[in-house]
Symmetry: C2
Subunit: 406 residues, 2 copies
């Protein structure tokens, strides 16, 4: 056999199989109830509309020539235009030059790690934070440091001092946040916390990566302004803003087309276009054409309204079941939107150990929380996703889980 | 304005807009004849079949749920199985576990750079080589060193010495070759040269990245065994082979679906799956399902047969026109397949300067060769692609180009 280890890059040491991934292998077992993946309900997929627009995209020889050919790395012009208008309607005056189309927002996380991180640089993240972001960034060998929910647990000077202590040239490079119905906690940053994050980024003079994967799926309460819209107001324009906004159609239309976007200063977009070109040239042309036709002319608004109503019922079913069945020592979040409830187990109960029992004794799956903590803490937490199971199944699954804790 | 420069990673210095990319901006001008991009002829796209299989993939609720959903990072099972059988038919006994589906082979180049290159490591490449490979690798900050067409211009010991001279830990990490109808030269490695590359890789104990983007498009001469098939014979099995083979459907079916693959030892594939997961999760599920249905049951063989006949006529048209019209000081390659002729200009004529005159005075475009040389040489070379224009247009375009050289 070949000994591959000596030829791997140093970064390969930081690439591990994720717990979510290993988990998914048991989800196929019959009778398993899964609260694991952050997976949209296929009942919401616009199947008939998609069938129609795929057919349209291939209906004429000219249309088919473009749909099946290479395309520009920036993304399909009409889709960039639509996204720019969508961002503008949310208080961020954007032109298509401010938009890059990516293969989901996971790819945007990878590209931003590639653009910003030299080994040893510091990335500021919340604790816990989205596991996929940690995986994407870790390939570029950063150190992590934590910002609290109010972004005020340390001073800008202390972050700067910390970075200066590291190897020459290392420094804080960005702040990463999921402001709305966060993966994994389901929590939403308050307005004062948003202002704090922008203040911190301003004092450190670093970009803020705003991951808005779930932001369109609000069930309750008032819309909260995005960090990018707040920063555009502070700084006068999107090109002057420090916020790099990541959006996706995966939770609102369908993930199978692999389409997300970055909205940012043109300076950043032009750099990311070079990275896109060197990484995989362009997002599938036919999928971009299809996505544009699905979302335009009110299509996106209709899908969002349906998704909000649908997931709200599931969220309600999970919260009802947790109230009725969980022992009083457990605590959990009450999300205003998105896919996730975050549960803190009674003292001394490990999420990983509970998963082992849950899968084997109760046929129910979830994600142990520890994977979302860059610092190794959070062992007594778990993430519960209500997006996929039906309401009666959610009730049954929470009952099974609660029985393991009594 | 924000000063972004201080937050960019060190590697950003090595990411430049490519000449090919800038070129493409003038290709839309009416009357322009383009020998620039390595772009397949859309006349060959299987449009009716694609329309049918997209419709099939969305015809039932169950099928649509899978086609529009997230998918496993390795790739769609039946497509991996088909690719494994395709590789097996070429002398490489592969199982689906030896296959990763990627977003074109460009993504495979990016992933292999990510897996193998620590800054300062050495990548061995031919001079010239595929520009997109240099762009993908350069993000991981390697040094480049050159292997000659016979891979015998230097000894293994001299490469090892060179690497040892560099910063501690740096070393030769891989050899990258495009063995068949290479981009950009159109040349094919002889059997002895293939053996030399494997010998070199064996002595250095490093992988060989075999980029077979054009290998299926042979017009003349006998099939040449892939480096991977030769190495499997030497080493006894694919899992013991040092060769990592990159394939793509972009030149034979259609690039718009963005589907390629890596065939390699399971040890390598399992590492690349982690990289795929952290980079963009998975290739579009619907596109993988569609591609599988297009290539199975002889679909792929039929498309290849048609493409070979089609591009052979174009190659013949270009070689005829070059013979008839070029001044005797110019020399060019005579490819047995693929998309490219490589032309060496008369002494003192710069490819970049010729392009400027060609675009503005003669309405004809191509790619100056210098971009394909990691060492800054090759200024008097150009790449001519015959894949896109019709035969009469090829004749006209070569005539216009020749007139600039007389």
């Amino acid at each position: 056999m070949v000994s591959w280890k000596p030829v791997y890059a140093r970064r390969a040491d930081r690439m591990k199989a994720s717990e979510i991934r290993e988990l998914l292998k048991v989800l196929e077992r019959p009778g398993m109830i899964s609260f694991a993946g952050g997976i949209p309900d296929p009942a919401l997929f616009p199947v008939a509309a998609a069938a129609q627009v795929y057919a349209d995209a291939l209906a004429s020889p000219n249309a088919a020539s473009a749909a099946l050919q290479y395309a520009v790395s920036e993304g399909y012009g009409p889709l960039r235009q639509w996204i720019a208008e969508y961002m503008t309607a949310q208080g961020i005056a954007a032109s298509p030059d401010n938009i890059l189309v990516t293969a989901g927002s996971q790819q945007a996380l990878d590209f931003l790690g590639k653009l910003l991180l030299t080994p040893g640089d510091t990335a500021l993240v919340t604790v816990p934070t989205y596991l996929g972001a940690l995986q994407a960034f870790s390939a570029y060998e950063p150190r992590y440091d934590s910002i609290g929910p109010r972004a005020a647990n340390r001073t800008p000077a202390s972050y700067a001092d910390e970075a200066a202590k590291e190897a020459a040239g290392a420094r804080v490079k960005f702040v990463y946040v999921v402001p709305d119905f966060a993966n994994p906690t389901g929590e939403t940053l308050s307005r004062p916390a948003r202002a704090d994050v922008l203040d911190l980024a301003g004092e450190l003079d670093v970009p803020v990566l705003e991951d808005s994967a779930y932001s369109a799926l609000r069930f309750d309460g008032d819309e909260m302004p995005s960090l990018q819209s707040l920063d555009v107001r502070r700084r006068g324009s999107l090109d002057a803003s420090r916020v790099i906004h990541l959006g996706t159609f995966s939770k609102t239309v369908a993930p199978g087309l692999r389409i997300g976007w970055v909205c940012a200063s043109r300076a950043i977009i032009s750099r990311l276009v070079l990275i896109k070109q060197a990484s995989d040239l362009n997002v599938s042309a036919i999928n971009q054409i299809v996505m544009h036709r699905l979302v335009k002319d009110g299509g996106h608004a209709g899908l969002i309204a349906r998704a909000r109503a649908h997931y709200r019922l599931k969220r309600d079913a999970m919260l009802r079941a947790l109230e009725a069945q969980m022992p009083s020592e457990a605590r959990w979040t009450r999300p205003d939107g998105g896919f996730f409830v975050w549960l803190t187990l009674p003292d001394g109960v490990s999420g990983a150990a509970l998963l082992d029992r849950a899968v084997n004794q109760a046929q129910v799956a979830f994600v142990p929380g520890a994977a979302f903590f860059h610092d190794g803490s959070g062992t007594n937490t778990i993430r519960l996703s209500y997006s996929l199971p039906e309401e009666a199944v959610i009730e049954e699954g929470i009952g099974r889980l609660a029985s393991l804790l009594r």
